[in-house]
């Protein structure tokens, strides 16, 4: 007779305990897999230069691109024109088309000769008027086109700005630029939500696991490893998502779009996990040890203690971790740029591409005309990003820390 055998009700608890162990170890394994894959991808990048160099030397001699983009021989205007033309029409890359459009360059040799390009300035500026939408961006044409002579200009400008920003089409580079931010908002919201829904639970479970379940030796391996992931260049993670996760997910789900908000959200969650993990872990291990002992001394299991005592006690800190995770996902640019498909669609489906606010700045700031309306709007988005992440950080700093202090010192 064993007077200390486990009570029958205990079986359910064992199941629960084992499932948390499995989920927690699974999250650790996932993190390690990500880590290993990312590292492998990174190794691929390091091994890459030789192939890349070969690729460059294999560029056909008759490719026009080096000439067109050569900054030394072209004026800024011409470069803009050329880039815009390149963006609008692939024809520029085709020597024949260029020849067709530019009778002046009848001699093919002239096109290859940088001096000749300079000499052909008039022809180039003609082309600019036809193809370059950014010239129109430079002038406040859209405002005047909507304006009617009777309305006071200022009031109209205000209203139309608001109307413009709340429109459902983001098309800043076009004949009539459209600056509707709704697609950007939707894109940001859905990728951030996916990132948090994946990243926060994994980060918190991993934190619970290393704080209370893992042996000291395991903790000493896992903790630095996850924190190392936080320092990983986001461009590598973006590349990893774009090349590997996107493919696997498409095979798995059979999605129409290879890059979509789900892939982007998963990519963002990779940066969210270590952040949530390290803050949640800190919050959990700052809960007095004596609470854990008190709970265990009442005959609770490790997981009951973790779940019912430690997690609630650390709730403000865990909440802070999630908030900062949101801020991270919200502001992350590179991964959002690379893995979401980056198309400003006003669709809530996570299997369709998305474009986030941050990615919009990242992808458009380089080409925008300085001082244009588009330029101003990108900066407006930038300010918004700043305000939101400042707000999230302020909330965690001021509110959450106060709560934590209160919680352990009474009222």
């Amino acid at each position: 007779m064993n007077p200390f055998r486990a009570t029958s009700r205990h079986v359910g608890e064992h199941v629960a305990e084992w499932s948390i162990r499995i989920v927690a170890s699974f999250s650790i394994i996932v993190i390690f897999l990500i880590f290993i894959f990312v590292f492998r991808e990174a190794m691929g990048l390091f091994a890459g230069p030789k192939e890349a160099a070969e690729a460059v030397t294999q560029v056909p001699a008759d490719d026009l691109r080096p000439e067109v983009y050569n900054p030394d021989v072209m004026s800024l205007e011409e470069r803009l024109a050329a880039e815009a033309a390149a963006a609008e029409s692939q024809d520029v890359y085709n020597p024949d088309a260029v020849l067709a459009q530019e009778p002046a360059a009848s001699n093919e040799q002239d096109v290859y000769n940088p001096d000749a390009v300079l000499a052909q300035e008039p022809a180039a500026s003609n082309e600019q008027e036809v193809y370059n939408p950014e010239v129109e961006l430079g002038t406040p044409a859209p405002t005047t086109s909507v304006a009617t002579p009777e309305t006071p200009a200022a009031e109209l400008a205000d209203r139309s700005l608001w109307d413009k920003l709340t429109g459902s089409v983001w098309q800043p580079v076009s004949e009539i630029p459209k600056y509707g931010m709704v697609p950007l908002f939707i894109g940001t919201a859905k990728t951030t939500i996916v990132a948090i829904l994946i990243g926060a639970p994994l980060g918190i479970l991993a934190a619970l696991y290393t704080a209370f379940f893992a042996s000291r030796r395991l903790r000493n391996i896992v903790k630095p490893a996850i924190e190392l992931l936080a320092g990983f260049p986001s461009v590598v993670i973006g590349f990893f998502c774009l090349s590997i996760i996107a493919t696997y997910l498409q095979d798995l789900l059979g999605t129409t779009f290879r890059l979509n908000a789900l892939v982007g959200g998963i990519g963002l969650s990779i940066t969210v996990i270590p952040l949530v993990y390290s803050i949640a872990e800190e919050a959990l291990s700052s809960v007095p040890r004596s609470l854990r002992e008190a709970s265990l001394a009442l005959g609770s299991t490790e997981w009951q203690t973790a779940y019912r005592v430690m997690l609630p006690a650390a709730a403000p800190g865990v909440f802070a971790a999630v908030l900062l995770g949101v801020g991270r996902a919200f502001g992350e640019t590179m991964i959002a740029l690379m893995a979401t498909g980056n198309a400003p669609l006003a669709s809530w489906s996570i299997l369709e591409p998305a474009r986030t606010f941050a990615a919009t700045i990242g992808s458009e700031m380089g080409e925008v005309v300085w001082g244009s309306e588009h330029y101003g709007i990108l900066f407006l988005i930038g300010s918004m990003l700043f305000v939101v992440s400042f707000g999230l950080n302020a909330i965690t700093e001021l509110y959450v820390k106060q709560r934590l202090i209160k919680r352990f010192q009474g009222k």
Partner: protein, 255 residues
């Protein structure tokens, strides 16, 4: 002195190690049912280590091990078939520092019960009241049961921890210096409580307060440097100790 009661728990040749450091040397002690067994001794002599070995709280510390026997109801608590959570439910513990959970007073009491069973609220209400009454805390907190337990004074918190420990109806109650952070009035209340509780439980008490040991305990063990120097009925220890060290210690000549 009352007649001998059955032995509820006992150790035989129990030694304990923190890593390579030995903290307890061949301890053999009986702990009698419905009696208060007190342990005294200078700081660092291993009293807490001994207490925490009974409900296996030392398992939480990496690199600890033991030799010898630690029996409760005739079963070695370190044997593989013992379920440690069941053991701890039957061997409750009150810590030196009060450790209320950052929850309401009510939830502090019901936590232990809720781990194993879902009792209806009406029944829980009754249990909360009776536990708080036993810990002489009911009158002070009955109007704020749903306020945070952290709003209580230190003495009230310690009595809450005692109420919490008795809520799951353990058979043995381990108390590690339960009064060291309390004022004399709270100490008096806790001592009264111990005397009342021993009718229902087997109490093992660690204290630095010689008068307290003399007042509330039936048996006393004197520890020194990890060894049990003397164990006997409290009256014997305090009136005619067999060992010189014991006499020196209780008369305040060292320690």
């Amino acid at each position: 002195m009352a007649k001998e009661t059955p032995i509820k728990a006992r150790t035989v040749d129990f030694s304990f190690y923190y890593g390579s450091k030995q903290a307890l040397y061949n301890i053999s002690i009986p702990m009698h049912q419905h009696r208060v067994t007190a342990f005294i001794g200078p700081s660092g002599c291993g009293k807490s280590t001994f207490l925490r070995s009974i409900n296996r709280m030392n398992d939480l510390i990496d690199g600890t091990r033991h030799t010898g026997l630690m029996e409760v109801d005739g079963t070695d608590v370190y044997s593989p078939e013992v379920d440690v959570t069941t053991l701890r439910r039957r061997v409750g513990m009150v810590f030196q520092k009060s450790t209320p959970f950052p929850k309401s007073i009510y939830e502090n009491i019901t936590y232990g019960l809720s781990l194993t069973q879902n009792k209806p609220k009406s029944e829980l209400d009754g249990i909360v009241e009776s536990c708080l009454r036993r810990a002489a805390l009911w009158d002070e907190v009955k109007d704020r049961l749903h306020h945070s337990a952290l709003g209580l004074s230190g003495g009230q918190q310690q009595r809450l921890c005692i109420a919490r420990a008795v809520s799951i109806n353990p058979e043995i109650l381990l108390m590690d210096e339960p009064c060291s952070a309390l004022d004399p009035i709270s100490t008096g209340k806790v001592e009264e409580l111990i005397t009342e509780l021993k009718d229902a439980y087997t109490i093992v008490l660690v204290t630095h307060n010689m008068q307290q040991a003399a007042r509330v305990s039936d048996y006393t063990g004197f520890f020194l440097m990890g060894r049990l120097i003397e164990f006997d009925r409290t009256r014997t220890i305090f009136t005619s100790p067999a060992q010189k060290e014991t006499e020196d210690y209780i008369t305040g000549r060292f320690g």
